[in-house]
Amino acid sequence: MDLLKLSIPTLAKMLREKKISSQELVSFYLERIKKHKKLNAYITVLEDAVNKAKDIDMKGIKNDDPVLRGIPYSLKDNMLADGVKTTCASRILENYIAGYDSTIAKRLKDSGAVLLGKTNMDEFAMGSSNENSHFGPVCNPWNEKHVAGGSSGGSAVSVSAGLSQFSYGTDTGGSVRLPASFNGVASLKPTYGRMSRYGIIAFASSLDQIGPIAKNIEDLAIAYDVVSGHDPKDSTTSIKNKDGMYEYLIKEVKDRENNFSRKTVGIPRDMLIGGCSKDVLNSLEQSKKVLTDMGFDFVDIDLPNSKYALAVYYIIVTGEASSNLSRYDGVRYGYRTKDYEELKDLYSLSRGDGFGDEVRRRIILGTFVLSAGYYDAYFSKAAKVRSLIKKDFEKVFEKCDSILMPVSPVTAFKIGERTKDPLEMYLSDIFTVSANLAAVPSLGFPAGRDSRGLPIGMQLIGKHFDEKTLFTTAWMIQKQKPEWFNNIATTVKEKKVIE
């Protein structure tokens, strides 16, 4: 039996039937993490996780315990877990030990899931390739010369290389969906307000959203269920009832598979012209065919303001980031320069040495777009266009229930290929930023490989707070195309834990 192919519900059953212990499961992953060190997926590995698992085994796992009890997972290194180093892949927080639990860490802890470690990322989540880490780039396990995608590259690789059962990243403009698509795993950027941001190191507060990453849709639904929902500590979280997505999928959708009410899917054809590789466009047609065969209707849609999305995005994120990153000043915690005499030097040298190039670039840009005299021309105007983009989506969703499009125009590019030109790198996010700007949910799913064997990812974008349609649709795609899911890139032979 190949542990790497198993879903969370299967593992949960085996744990309850004592066919496997949490300790075995955790040790299995810790062992694999060691063997795959050169992928550079983790910044911090928690060896102590074995003891946590032992504890859980000792206390036993009962039938009505949360499904995640005893199951290992990883967190992007911008999420605080009490007592654990949280670096945000930055020199400025290289030795920062979190003094409290983020809401996500707390909810996972309460569910009994076991934290394996903190995954590598682009510094302060700024990047599309995971090459901007103080701890070095993350490699794509499908081809180590290629990027993992960013900014949640470590989280995506921890799932795609079998270094964790499931993981979480943060998605500000595509940072969960892009690396997930480059790695052939499923991901979700929930509706803004679904997930608590408390204890997540802020990049751009009005766009940041936690997203689960998993190798199949049922794992993704479980990972979504456990951490979503209102949190009094984050006033931007919605008080809307959260759906029990996994329950819904196995009870409602499964039973009604044959008479499930078909839905309409939109494709923004104009947006896709030019730029997209042939393999990616072919994959889109395949996904379309799968859905058409199941009786879904397709319409062409138009998102006229999407051409401004990338510009709007980079004005808003840099503006917000310039303020969010002000607290890293060397005064209370984090890196502090030794060579200062005046306060001004303490600030400029600590921040100058502590932040990497891309972070500094964005702070400078953001300071500019917020400054008196330029605010109206940039930040304020971007906010206005953002509301137009939102309206585009509202209008489109009068015609369709979801939008199907690629996550990225291309598959994983080579390490170093785009680092010289920041603007080219920014273009990687061209298909993902709109969902963040419009605050709508987007589910990324794997949809085959390109001619070089690199994974291709599609996304389904949904209405505000309508994750249900996305999960249902993806669930049905998974039924039709099981070969697209549960693929783990593994080159190292495993000894079998159980027969």
Partner: protein, 482 residues
């Protein structure tokens, strides 16, 4: 108008104040840390108010209630939609690198308060805006190190910005005092200026006559006493006058008042001013205040000083000045009303309050809450004057003894035998003695020199060792002489 507004050189000042008042909520504006003063450094802190990575603010609804109450008391229009904004700047006492404040859509706008003067005249001072924000921490500078205490960081503040409606330092102080009185009445701010609960920034410019446009303004930061506000303004108006007289140009700048030397010093010029890069706080949703919430706050409003002053004038027949003095402090007004209900005689009570009581409070630098005599103890003393047991002068002596020792008025009067002689036969006996010993003066009186009466009364009082009731003496003496 209380006084001439131009100074000797003929310049007029234009003054506006920005007042920061700490709200007296138990917990901070955006986290649940305690706001108590005087705790060990950095003990009232948490991830939110110490600016840890990932921490997020959530609004203290009590602070919003307090701020709304203040805005209503200052006759402001409350905005239903409130947007918080980030004010970005670097300083070690500012843990997040920005202060959560309000900018484009503040809590309230367009209010006013009325200030009154001794002559009974009044003036309305406009309030431009009132908004909510959080306080910063506190830096301490030692020889080799600077330390930051974040206990104050995140304490809720309201900033009240006036129109440039004041023309003299006295008006500015009267306005500041009035704000303090109202905030105390509302019980939304402790207004302890030494602890920094209430602080003030001044904007001041001068011009040659009232029809000219405003001159270049100078800001003076962070004053925490009425006296400093007055001193700083006098100094600054004088400084600016001298400059204009010497044909120098006044530059827009921020200055600091040095209380030990009484002068202001330049802190930073306009070019060095911060660009605060305000933008809407993305971590907080717009705060919507619906009408029913505002109405609820309106309904729970206590009687405010202006209303109380009017009531005192009407009910107790006091002058505006007396009523104003008695209502300018909530606790004093309560003490006064307790006193009046205990012994009636509102005018007499008012006189006692304004003379003996307030003099004592000033001398002892205490508030009425710490005053040694409760209203009953003082009332008993005043009552013995009204009943004629002692006269006014004796009463003052007894009062002084009461506030130093612990005895009651009755005990002191008995012990020292101060009770007035009102017994007619006893007084008559003394009068007869005086008449027989001062025949010359008696004759003068009978000849029409009535002024000599005072001399004769004096002799009677002296013989009685001050204990004879002067009213009775007067009456009897008159009778005997005619």
């Amino acid at each position: 108008m209380n006084s001439k507004t131009e100074n000797k050189k003929g310049y007029n000042a234009v003054i506006g104040l920005e007042i920061h008042a700490q709200l007296s909520t138990k917990s901070k504006m955006f986290c649940s840390c305690s706001t108590s003063f005087g705790k060990k450094q950095n003990t009232n802190i948490c991830p939110v108010c110490s600016g840890q990575p990932g921490a997020l603010p959530s609004i203290n609804s009590r602070a919003v209630e307090y701020a709304v109450r203040a805005a209503l008391a200052f006759n402001c229009k409350i905005n239903n939609k409130n947007i918080f904004a980030r004010k970005n700047y670097f300083y070690p006492d500012l843990p997040k690198g920005y202060q959560i404040s309000q900018y484009e859509e503040p809590l309230a706008i367009n209010g006013w308060v009325e200030i009154g003067f001794k002559d009974g005249s009044k003036k309305k001072i406009g309030i431009t805006r009132l908004h909510m924000e959080e306080d910063a921490g506190k830096n301490t500078h030692n020889v080799n190190e600077s330390l930051v205490d974040l206990n104050r960081s995140g304490i809720p503040l309201i900033e009240i910005v006036s129109e440039p409606d004041m023309r003299t330092p006295e008006e500015a102080v009267a306005y500041f005092k009035k704000l303090k009185t109202v905030l105390e009445y509302l019980e939304v701010c402790d207004c302890n200026m030494e602890e920094g609960n209430l602080r003030c920034d001044i904007n001041v410019s001068i011009r040659k006559n009232e029809h000219e446009k405003f001159g270049t303004k100078v800001e003076i930061k962070n004053l925490n006493s009425f006296r400093f506000v007055e001193k700083a303004l006098y100094y600054e108006i004088e400084r600016q006058t001298k400059m204009l007289e010497n044909n120098e140009k006044i530059i827009q700048e921020t200055r600091l008042f040095d209380s030990s030397s009484g002068i202001t010093r330049s802190m930073r010029k306009k070019e060095e001013a911060h660009d605060y890069r305000y933008f809407p706080e993305p971590d907080l949703l717009p705060l919507i205040l619906n009408e029913s919430f505002i109405q609820k706050e309106k309904d729970s409003m206590p009687e405010l000083p202006d209303k109380k002053c009017e009531r005192f004038m009407e009910k107790y027949l006091l002058s505006f000045y007396d009523a104003d003095v008695l209502t300018s402090d909530k606790d004093i007004s309560k003490y006064y009303e307790d006193l009046v209900s205990y012994i009636k005689e509102p005018k007499v009570c008012s006189n006692w309050m304004q003379a003996e009581v307030m003099r004592t409070l000033n001398e002892q630098r205490i508030g009425i809450k710490d005053f040694k005599l409760d209203h009953k103890k003082l009332g008993d003393l005043i009552r013995s004057v009204i009943s004629g047991d002692i006269n006014q002068n004796t009463a003052k002596e007894v009062f002084n003894e009461m506030i130093t020792g612990g005895a009651s008025a009755g005990e002191i009067i008995d012990k020292k035998g101060l009770k007035q002689i009102s017994d007619l036969t006893a007084i008559e006996k003394i009068i007869d003695e005086v008449i027989s010993e001062s025949m010359a003066q008696v004759q003068q009186y009978r000849d029409g020199k009535t002024a000599v009466m005072g001399f004769l009364v004096g002799l009677v009082m002296k013989k009685s060792k001050g204990k004879a009731n002067p009213a009775v003496v007067n009456e009897l003496l008159k009778k005997k002489l005619t």
